[in-house]
Amino acid sequence: MTTVAGSPVTAFENNDQKPVGHGRMLRKEDPRFVRGRGRYVDDVQLPGMLHLAILRAPMAHARIVSVDTSLAEAHPKVKLVVTGAMLAEKGLAWMPTLSNDVQAVLATDKVRFQGQEVAFVVAEDRYAARDALELIDVEYEMLDPVVDVRTALDPSAPVIRDDLDGKTDNHCFDWETGDAEATEDVFAKADVVVSDDIVYPRVHPAPMETCGSVADFDAVDGKLTLWSTTQAPHAHRTLYAIVAGLPEHKIRVISPDIGGGFGNKVPIYPGYVCSVVGSLLTGKPVKWMEDRSENLTSTGFARDYVMRGEIAATRDGKILGIRTNVLADHGAFNGTAAPVKYPAGFFGVFTGSYDIEAAYCKMTAVYTNKAPGGVAYACSFRITEAVYLVERIVDCLAYELDMDPAELRLRNFIKPEQFPYTSKTGWVYDSGDYEPTMRLSMELAGYDELRREQEEKRARGELMGIGISFFTEAVGAGPRKDMDILGLGMADGCELRVHPTGKAVVRLSVQTQGQGHETTFAQIVSEETGIPPSDIDVVHGDTDQTPFGLGTYGSRSTPVSGAAAALVARKVRDKARLIASGMLEVPATDIEWTKGSFHVKGDPSASVTIQDIAMKAHGAGDLPEGIEGGLEAQICYNPENLTYPHGAYICVVDIDPGTARVTVRRFVAVDDCGTRINPMIIEGQVHGGLTDGVGMALMEMIAFDEDGNCLGGSLMDYLIPTALEVPDWETGFTVTPSPHHPIGAKGVGESATVGSPPAVVNAVVDALKPFGVRHADMPLTPSRVWEAMQGRPMPPI
């Protein structure tokens, strides 16, 4: 791994020893993880705890004729068997999704995807619970499934959602953005118009830890404690209160250590609700932990967009307009987790990093007999799809113009002086300076030398490709005026309390799933207060212990909660200044802050440390007039805008001409996420995201057969990459701070997942240029690459 700075390296960048503030310090949470002492949901063991298993539909579409649970109930270890009909009696058979649709907790009328929840068993152990599922006899009447998204709206297609009043087709929603007429005008005058069909197949986040929960309802005090694999504990608590009618103060949601989320743990799944029902009915704690196949076949998928991309340009490579028509497969229920006003997430940023004249998108979303979901896998609310579309279609344009793809991009970037830049679809990019980032990536890659090497190899019949992706993300949802999830605004609370001895606890609403929050947030508070990160405890993932906020997804933790942490620390510091002025016996305007202490202007020897002040705040003796004791503060931060990180990625691949196997030889990633808090954590997130991207580009896909059977139900069938498929990552960075974020930071968690797939695909397509290939769809398995070489690239669906 190589890291090269594109901006002046500040003193802290490579200083592990730095006692306070931003910088490359080791992660505070790692001592417990590397010792195997993390505590996950499945580690929760409560006295008398029972185990829950879910019976799932074996087929994609069928009417439930009858459910006979008598044999299961007779199993000696079974305590409870619940069917959809029983839930319906309690009004709990259906629940709202995060997109204002409804989803069955347990099917009552029909099953609508393979793997859908039909009944559950609660038993003394998980073996017995699983055994008893086989004793439940369900009679189904088979129905034709809707599998191909392209024919889902045919008048002859079976109607999946006949539970919705008056529903006569499989239409889910329509959505458009941009200006259709202006775009048409631009396309009409363009010298060159290029279009292509681009499919982003269905993929799955596949976190190492599957989803699960332990519900413990205490009938005496009426309190429900729910340990669950959730990226958004507060939002979940409020939704449980609204759906189940339980008083919110009697619900405690605990999200302990989480073994990867990637968006898979944003929705509320039927299993969580079943465990709550199980505990309510048995009076015992009930654990539900899904197995790998259940996770892959029934929980939130990602992508599944069939896109028509069009780009208009002048002959000399000035991009004029981008237009797209999208067919979106939402599965059986619209379970998309995105701000309410954005049914297609933030796909509207499909104009990318380019200054163009017009853009337009028309989208149609449909129901199919597949698992629900739709926003997951580190996608920044569909920016993955948007970036893939624009970066692929720009490369198609470069192909048609016979222009170097780096040169084409450089020619069309939004210029630094244009920021804040309002895109043609209405997004206000906060800051950016794209050319230096692009130039740095080319320098690190040795771009010109690579092109020369490629030329020589092509002459010898060898296949080498160089792929570029330049992305701009929009992360940190979001401003209350625009963004909410089911009516909950996307502002985040934060509390900071400094103890008398100068140690501190910061309480966050966001929940880490591996991002290193316990370190990053301690560093943010440390930078603002001078308290060493090791003296700052970060508390998160427990609704009884933390202020309200919307959770960790869409790269929002640092843009939103990170801002909250910085501002709450500044509030504490402001109070500390007043106390210090009393201690130093000078007016507050006469003292200066240097990290960790206040001193009298012009007299650095007259100073008090933050620790001195903390003791004074809690100690004996008078405080300045009007100052309360204690040293703590709280805040609720409402971001004024999203943050817009960007990056330039260059991928080099070699393809074996005989077997069509792709080897990713090199990958250079230059990221600009504004102010960098902990460079090591940023690099770790980038490494993970790049690996994700190689996986999606080369091997990952949740496929279905014509009957709607999921073909990706195990990790033998759904391939995720290993260390052997990825190169040594080469990373670099530039720093363009966000103007509105208090410390100038932008989100970065999903940048690499968003930015890397087009770089890999562009490299493979570039390698196949001698075969006349302009586009080939993911996943670029050897077979699919070979088919493209034969002149018959096949769409994956």
Binding site: D131, D291, G658, A703, L711, L719, T722, S783, E787
Partner: protein, 292 residues
């Protein structure tokens, strides 16, 4: 966590004891060796057996690689890792090391066995292709003694072998002829995955002419297939790209691949040829001391 259905567990201390238990329990029982195919199938509840008979205590009795003048005998409980790490085996049959390097991952290779691999009879299984390529024969022991069958007889179809309910595969024998070598070529979608297609080749030279050659393919038909027509074509031929191409054409023509998520039938047919050519080329280079 995926959990299997209830089953009873017996642990055999000798081959005869294992055969006795199998004889008593009939087809409700299954031997478990490395368990890396059987246990996942049981956890997915694709396989449900009343009894598992654990033969890992037979690792000493059936774990061996014995080199004799005209043959190599390998015990059925010999683990992948032992096959991978035997330098003497690599000298006799380099194809073993080629194949073992691309079989699953170290965790599987530490436990999985030669016998288990053959008895699983998965059409995509690598060691079955290796044994086919090398013209191996299998020693099957029952109450009434031993019988020896060829690989063609051993594999009766996908997941189906000649081993009866009260029998155990104990040993696999490989004939040794002078001035030969071998190689294995595999295309997989990801490290550790099953083969999209793989091809093994073994070649013997005499005075610069091919005296015998064998090719075995995996994942392109109901079971790994030996290709006698290739042997006939190559015998007496001078090693050359033209000869390899002829053999490759026969491989492509003779196999019967199906389109699935690993690849299209056309691609697999192409690979059958491409990998046959590569494996033959590498085998000949090895005989001539030009590689490895």
């Amino acid at each position: 966590m995926q959990v299997p259905a209830p089953f009873e567990y017996e642990r055999a201390g000798s081959v005869d004891e294992a055969i006795g238990v199998l004889d008593r329990l009939g087809d409700t029982a299954r031997l478990i060796a490395g368990g890396h195919s059987l246990l996942p199938m049981m956890k997915l509840r694709l396989a449900n057996f009343e009894y598992l008979v654990d033969i890992n205590d037979l690792a000493d009795e059936l774990g061996f690689i014995v080199f004799e003048p005209d043959r190599v005998r390998i015990g059925a409980m010999t683990r992948h890792r032992e096959l991978l790490e035997s330098a003497e085996l690599a000298r006799a049959f380099p194809i073993f090391q080629d194949a073992e390097k691309v079989i699953a991952d170290p965790v599987v290779r530490n436990r999985g066995t030669l016998g288990g691999s053959l008895c699983q009879a998965d059409p995509s299984e690598d060691l079955s292709a290796v044994c086919t390529t090398l013209g191996a024969s299998c020693v099957i022991r029952g109450r009434d003694g031993e019988r020896v069958v060829t690989m063609e007889e051993f594999h009766r179809g996908p997941y189906e072998t000649a081993v009866g309910d009260a029998e155990i595969l104990t040993e696999v024998r490989f004939p040794v002829h002078p001035s030969g070598s071998s190689a294995y070529e595999k295309v997989e979608r990801r490290a550790g995955d099953w083969a999209v297609v793989s091809a093994g080749a073994a070649v013997w030279l005499e005075g610069g002419v091919i005296s015998d050659a064998r090719v075995g393919l995996a994942a392109v038909g109901p079971n790994t297939t030996g290709l006698p027509e290739i042997s006939q074509t190559l015998r007496g031929a001078t090693p050359s790209e033209e000869a390899y191409a002829r053999a490759g054409d026969i491989a492509a023509r003779s196999c019967d691949p199906a389109s699935d998520h690993r690849g299209s039938a056309e691609y697999k047919r192409h690979l059958a040829k491409e990998l046959t050519v590569r494996a033959l080329r590498r085998s000949v280079a090895r005989v001539n001391g030009e590689e490895d």
